[in-house]
Amino acid sequence: MPWEIKSDRPIYTQLIEQIELKICSGEYSPGSKLPSVRELAQEISVNPNTLQRSFAKLEEDGLLFTNRTSGRFVTEDINMICSIKSKIAKEHVQQFLENMKKLGFETAEILKMLKTMLEEMKK
């Protein structure tokens, strides 16, 4: 999953979101070691301090932990990862439902559309 930093939102927030995504999707698997701030900042082309702050926040939240000597790792706590995953999913669904409501869709219509589109995706 390539990094996508948009220009109108704080980079710090976007980095947190995208790292969370990568952890939830398994791209950064539980217990795996993260690249150093420097390396990753270079890869994404962002300011290292900003990335460092994102890492710090994620550590605070418990998704990452630092081992003094060996570096930064993704947590092995699968439950936590799952709960973050759910949280993000809920946020997406919330946003989706709000948008659909704005368009004027009712619950039944929303469910019908979801079902149809999901079936089409399977093909």
């Binding site: 220009s7 109108d8 980079i11 900042a41 082309s45 300011n47 301090n49």
Partner: protein
């Protein structure tokens, strides 16, 4: 000392024109700072004063506690807008020159960068294209382990691929003890790598904020904000 650069009421006049007007700045170590503003806003003037290439009309600048002079030049690495390479040396000789005068210069780093850009160290400087000369200058500047890097329009006349390389090099050389100040009017390309920005307008500091704070508060990129702030002032 946390501050690497302190600027108090710095003013520089050229005749009746005030290029810098009571500029106050405090920049910490370990930051990547963008000095932004339209042409003629005082960016180059400010950087020149930091390098003792101009003397202030009033006020002062201190770098690492030193006024611009012998001691500050040891810890400042400056990339001017112009090409300052002479026409009689080869690339290898200018590297030797830097090594001779700067104790923090890393020959190995310079040669590594030359190699990765496919620049032949045996070439005479005068045979290099403009773009290659700019790259050589960047290499010389970034091969020093300075405490303050001052880059004047480093991505100005450069093609996009080279631009990426330059930004990459800046990130690669980032260190917590060093600060990089780069001046430019091409904001969109460099926003993401900046910690803070300083907007200069008619020689005065219009705004100093971190990139994320701007995005947060104004809901737009620094580039977009810049276009708004300076629209009225474009000729």
């Amino acid at each position: 000392m946390r501050q690497i650069l302190e600027c108090k009421n710095l003013t520089k006049s050229f005749g009746s024109v005030k290029a810098l007007d009571s500029v106050n700045l405090n920049i910490e170590r370990g930051r990547i700072v963008g000095l932004l503003g339209p042409n003629g806003s005082g960016k180059s003037t400010f950087l020149k004063i930091c390098n003792e290439l101009l003397t202030p009309s009033s006020g002062e600048v201190r770098i690492g506690g030193f006024k611009p002079g012998l001691e500050s030049k040891k810890i400042v690495s400056y990339l001017p807008e112009k090409s300052y390479l002479n026409d009689w040396m080869r690339v290898s000789e200018i590297i030797g020159f830097f090594k001779d005068f700067y104790s923090d210069f890393s020959e190995k780093k310079a040669y590594d960068m030359l190699k990765s850009l496919n620049i032949d160290a045996n070439c005479k400087l005068k045979t290099l294209s403009k773009g290659t000369k700019e790259k050589v200058q960047l290499i010389l500047v970034m091969s020093r382990r300075a405490e303050l890097y001052l880059l004047d329009e480093p991505i100005g006349g450069v093609d996009p691929a080279a631009r990426d390389y330059i930004l990459d090099t800046i990130l690669k050389n980032y260190s917590e003890d060093a600060t990089i100040i780069l001046s430019t009017h091409l904001i969109a390309d460099i926003e993401k790598i900046l910690d803070d920005i300083v907007f200069l307008k008619n020689g005065q500091v219009a705004l100093t904020k971190s990139v994320d704070d701007i995005r947060d508060e104004y809901g737009k990129s620094v580039d977009a904000l810049f276009r708004e702030v300076f629209r009225c002032y474009e000729n």
